[in-house]
Symmetry: C2
Subunit: 199 residues, 2 copies
């Protein structure tokens, strides 16, 4: 145990995800040895992020204005919505530069174990967006795991009767990976989704 403020900082840092007691101690001593301006800047951005960052009223992505950068962008294709679990998935997809539509952030995935059902996700808001009639295709980009698949299945059953095109991101071998290291489910999916090479 350290004296007052040092221990308080170690305790607070230890509450962050992925920061164990040893890392919390290392970070605390790093901050003790840092310039006061650096530490004040970190404290400042922490407060800023809570004051400034809101969630986009259209898609639920993080935003500093009522609407996020993507929903405000007039060049985005309004007929396409890509449904993701979290705001960080938006960033991952934006990095590919493959998608020119808009997003819808669910805020998680269906998980009976964690007590998350469809009502806990932003599905009602998605249906409201569809009411406008301009949307032609919904791309389900939830995570390729149990919860993500369950959520995609739930949404496709809900949306398909509405006459929309509902698609799911392809599963298969990761590019640059070794076939022998692929798990059997991924390898199975890669067979299932195989394409002619003159494609």
């Amino acid at each position: 145990m350290y004296e007052g403020a040092v221990q308080d900082l170690i305790d607070e840092l230890g509450r962050l995800p992925g920061v164990g007691p040893k890392s919390a101690q290392r970070i605390a001593f790093h901050l003790l040895a840092s310039d006061e301006t650096d530490v004040r800047r970190l404290a400042h951005v922490l407060i800023q992020v809570k004051e400034k960052v809101k969630f986009c009223e259209i898609c639920g992505n993080v935003a500093e204005e009522p609407q996020c950068r993507i929903c405000r962008d007039p060049r985005r294709d309004l007929s396409l919505i890509c449904v993701v679990e979290e705001a960080k998935d938006v960033v991952a997809i934006e990095r590919t530069r493959e998608f020119r539509g808009r997003y819808h952030v669910l805020g998680g995935a269906i998980s009976p174990i964690e007590g998350i059902g469809p009502d806990e996700l932003r599905i009602k808001e998605l249906l409201q967006r569809l009411a406008g009639g301009e949307i032609m295709e919904i791309i389900l980009a939830t995570d390729p795991n149990l919860e993500g698949e369950a959520t995609a299945t739930y949404l496709s059953r809900l949306l398909r009767p509405m006459g929309l095109r509902v698609t799911r991101l392809a599963s298969g071998l990761p590019v640059g990976g070794d076939l022998e290291y692929a798990d059997e489910v991924t390898l199975g999916r890669a067979f299932e989704g195989r394409r002619s090479i003159d494609d």
Copy 2:
């Protein structure tokens, strides 16, 4: 890339030791989803730690008063000084309850690669403490690695001519470990430092 404040927070978190870009992103989104009071408390302890925490004028340990808790404690044995590299080593040794003297925190170890020589460490301050004449033994508890050993060797050559008892913590097999997993240097040290079992 995220919008303004979120990206600023990810950048600042990414500067902390042991926090890579992925962890910084995970922590930032955790904080976004946290209660504002929790985030404000973290910001507050960051500022507190820089405002309140000083270094003990005697030993260099962290302290919230001019002298640390240990140097202020009248029950500690004034004839013994344990020399360590960092304040976190003090906490590790205190946990053993084996040592009842006082400490001296060097602020690092001699490392020619990192450009740290004896002048960068609190060695002058150690010599000043010895001038009082009440100190009988110096225990060198620097890390059992290259830099720590070099520092211990340097200090023992400096201090021994002063007529003090200079000791070094024992090296050997870690308690509870498996002999077969010990590296050869540690195993060699364990042989070198072997003791009669009637000890």
